[in-house]
Point group: C2
Chain length 257, copies 2
């Protein structure tokens, strides 16, 4: 059984301040919780609604094997912890890992510049994972990557990524000196096909509402524009990133052939 | 002033049944409402919260020029009509246009197969617009394209598109006989670079949760897989579509050079 203190602690995890204080984030749903238990990230506790507990024998077995504590909660208490309206009745609480540090051995890095929409952030993380970009640098002013809406829309990718948060422009300058090409995405940029990619790239994706930070434009080695028809206004930042990463992936695959 | 009947009618537009009954959809925010007034779609009425009415002189002038009726509502009544939590205080109600019919003159068509997430649907419409695909075929079982969340995430693209809803597999077979290549997206498919695109293509995007409808697989002339690293689970459907449309756009641009 959960003590009152424990219950209050878990209820608070929806709020960024308490996630940071307790170094915990929450994941809802059977699929993502199972994926989390099988990942390198530590699951501290699983909470299950008594209403549906009988349908979770498989994951209870998995949790037992992995020495993860499980607690049942009545429906009303469960709903106080849950973030979603139509919850499956299972929530896992996972340890927020330490920031990975800026990784100088990774050939390709992504830098997210003030991305503040949780759905976009989740899609970006998921797309980065697909193309094998497992090291993501986060600027000050981004939405919290452990926000439950972000976590949900990563579809499990959150468990496979390394993050370094609060990365400044000065740190990017350091990467540039280490041989990385800094690439921004701007409507005034050049066609994706004419961009010279390096062996090591930092692909910068900026929020659609703010545009590229001028200090980032200033150190950019290449500004990318994805060509389209006249009339449309802009591409979603996750879609734009997918198109760019797919291009780099294609180029690298053809170089390796 | 709005009559009680009118007020009730506008309040009901959040619900699909009433959108279809009254043939109206709603758009929130100054930018999208202005774009709508300047589009080919008829704006029936604009409703503005008295709280912020003084900040909207520009759009009131535009509405007057375009003979669009404007009404002010007190904050409480405005909130009953509004769909968003942080509303800007302006909502436009637009006529749902008649379905465009399946367009046999368009070289490239998109067919959406049971896309049910509103955010995905909005991003898909916005991405299609970017690449100049202005004719979209919608399968039975998709989320309503005039759902306020869909409309919001199209970022104004909703006003530039032609839709044909409830399009069946039989109608796609007809398109195939007219010379269109039917292209599906499947994890079992072939690399995007090896796909033979025709002069006329129907790009089918299926919902991530349902996968491709077997009847669609059966008539597919090419099944596309976007290559990525091992380990990740899937790409967001809007991101996948962006990558495919970008590829077709690049191929057609290089053919025209």
């Amino acid at each position: 059984m959960l003590s009152t203190n424990e219950f209050q602690r878990l209820t608070s995890i929806k709020v960024r301040k308490y996630r940071e204080l307790h170094r915990l984030f929450l994941v809802e749903g059977i699929k993502q919780v199972s994926e989390g238990i099988n990942s390198r990230i530590k699951c501290e506790i699983i909470v299950i609604s008594t209403k549906v507990i009988n349908t979770f024998s498989e994951i209870l077995r998995l949790a037992k094997e992995s020495n993860v504590r499980c607690e049942a909660l009545n429906e009303k208490d469960f709903e106080r912890i849950s973030e979603t309206v139509k919850s499956q009745g299972i929530i896992g609480f996972f340890r927020i890992p330490k920031d990975s540090g800026v990784n100088f051995t990774s050939n390709n890095l992504i830098y997210l510049d003030r991305i503040n929409d949780p759905g976009n952030m989740g899609t970006i993380i998921r797309t980065a994972d697909w193309f094998g970009y497992r090291n993501i640098l986060i600027s000050p002013g981004c939405v919290d990557i452990y926000n439950p809406k972000v976590v949900r829309s990563t579809m499990g990718s959150i468990f496979r990524m390394n993050f370094q948060q609060e990365v400044t422009v000065d740190e990017l300058k350091l990467l540039r000196r280490e041989g990385y090409r800094i690439l921004t995405t701007e409507l005034s940029g050049k066609s994706l096909n004419s961009i010279l990619f390096g062996k090591k790239n930092v692909v910068i994706m900026s929020s659609e509402s703010h545009g590229v930070l001028p200090e980032l434009s200033a150190i950019s080695d290449g500004s990318i524009k994805i060509l389209g028809e006249e009339g449309a206004e802009s591409l979603n930042v996750g879609v734009a990133m997918g198109i760019i990463l797919n291009k780099i992936f294609e180029l690298e695959s053809s170089n390796n052939e």
